[in-house]
Symmetry: C2
Subunit: 115 residues, 2 copies
Amino acid sequence: MSRVAADASAARRRHHAAVFAALGDETRLSLVSALSGGESRSIAQLTGGSRLTRQAITKHLRVLENAGVVRSARSGRESRYEFDPGPVNELKHYLTRVSEQWDEALGRLKTLVEG
Amino acid sequence: MSRVAADASAARRRHHAAVFAALGDETRLSLVSALSGGESRSIAQLTGGSRLTRQAITKHLRVLENAGVVRSARSGRESRYEFDPGPVNELKHYLTRVSEQWDEALGRLKTLVEG
DNA sequence: GCCATATGCAACAAAATGGTTGCTAATCTT
DNA sequence: AAGATTAGCAACCATTTTGTTGCATATGGC
């Protein structure tokens, strides 16, 4: 494998890890759940119902935004956040590839045993 | 929604977050990649090729094991680790549900605009 | 039995994370 | 213009994570 290809896959893995890490928190999963319905929401709205402070929620939103899971845009005096399905779909495909690799391994094992 | 149902979904979310967090690290993704081929490997084998020490790799493997992504069994003087596809498949389905929610939201928006 | 190999455990340090509080600035509303 | 709402920034704290080193223990081969 060429150097650039190795670097490219390392960069991809780094990116995947970042998105996984962004989703690796209960509060952030709740935020994703609140936003995956399609409607954008302000920080105050997203804070409502949580026991955490607005600042804590803001920090979590920034983590999600840095991972690309969420986008924000200022609208008047509020910042509205919306879900971006891209990274989540990338992860879905990544997990699918892992599963496939596993299934193929099982297939080879089966062939070995039966053959 | 009943109390127990709310608790159940909260527990599920907690579990998903734990698995996402386990995958949210480059080193651990490499380990998953090394194990998803189907063959079990010892800690020493998994450490080879990494710049990290054996103990660091051991800790990462424990994180993966606690999340259920990987299982270990002692065999003679070595601990052999193997991939468990269960949690990864759960995440795949979870992400699929998030995507579907998003797609349905887009569909409703489209209907609203066109209607 | 001896030696090399493979792992486990504990203590430690540095850095990242998750959360709070206090204060400031911008934007609506009336 | 005044007051209320919404958000940003900075400092700070506690906890967790990530990684190291040193030492102990178990197993396999000669």
